[in-house]
């Protein structure tokens, strides 16, 4: 996979192999915490962590809906950028407007947090201090790291 900027306004990811292509297509679904209490709790923490139940309940009622909308907006931008890529499974190139990078960084981070909480990865697993298992868990851990690499790269692009 190669990433380059043909001009100041565009970022191109090309020579995407089928596995990484599939992982890119899965960003919106991976960022969705639905069906996982752990993922929902991580994406929507409370301001007092349970010390002040009344305050936390008010937060859930008043602030959480705003945050949900904010998160949906960011993932929506990514979904829109992925539209053509999703519609053409043989596609190996993805073009992103630079002005969408903030949304991509958010969505990648959200996906990493949701996947980690959903699958209960430990700090040691995340730091690769345990041998890589076989199967789905290993693939999801790879997905978390792949999204992390992309996120880091995008962050650097914004610094330049």
């Amino acid at each position: 996979m190669k990433i380059h900027r043909p001009d100041a306004k565009t970022l191109v990811i090309e020579e995407i192999d089928s596995l990484l292509g599939e992982l890119l297509r899965q960003i919106p679904a991976s960022a969705d915490p639905s069906g996982s209490e752990a993922a929902t709790a991580r994406l929507f923490p409370t301001p007092t962590g349970g010390r002040e139940p009344k305050e936390d309940a008010e937060w859930r009622e008043l602030v959480e809906p705003e945050l949900r909308e904010l998160f949906l907006d960011a993932v929506g931008v990514v979904q829109e950028d992925l539209k053509k890529f999703v519609a053409a499974p043989e596609s190996r190139t993805l073009r992103l407007p630079m002005k969408h990078l903030e949304a991509w960084i958010h969505a990648l981070n959200q996906a990493r947090l949701a996947l980690t909480a959903r699958h209960g990865f430990t700090d040691r697993e995340l730091e690769r201090e345990v041998p890589m298992e076989e199967g789905e868990r290993a693939l999801v851990l790879f997905q978390v790291h792949f999204y992390g690499l992309l996120e880091e790269f995008f962050l650097r692009q914004l610094e330049e």
Binding site: P47, T48, N109
Partner: protein, 93 residues
């Protein structure tokens, strides 16, 4: 005619008297560069100051990134949650 009752707005009094801390907690998933960037964006920290707080979060598990009136502290916590950081509000000791 019932006597008027005087209600004390304790939250306002409290917010004026007691500083509240915005605390950011460690999270093994958020990238260090990402946390630094969010601190710069939300609080207007220099990169150096943002990195000091980021490293404190990473090494000590938490960092107090802002102290002041409760309402503003809540607004900062909301912004930090909007950027997916683990942040809480605590009364200053």
């Amino acid at each position: 005619m019932p006597l008027p009752t005087v209600e004390t707005d304790t939250s306002t009094e409290e917010s004026l008297d007691v500083p509240w801390n915005v605390v950011v907690h460690n999270d093994p998933v958020n990238l260090m560069s990402y946390v630094t960037r969010i601190f710069q964006m939300v609080f207007g920290f220099s990169k150096q100051k943002a990195e000091i707080h980021m490293l404190e979060v990473h090494q000590k598990g938490r960092s107090i990134v802002w102290s002041g009136v409760r309402e503003r502290a809540e607004a900062y916590v909301q912004q930090l949650h909007g950027h997916l950081l683990l942040a809480t509000l605590e009364k200053s000791q």
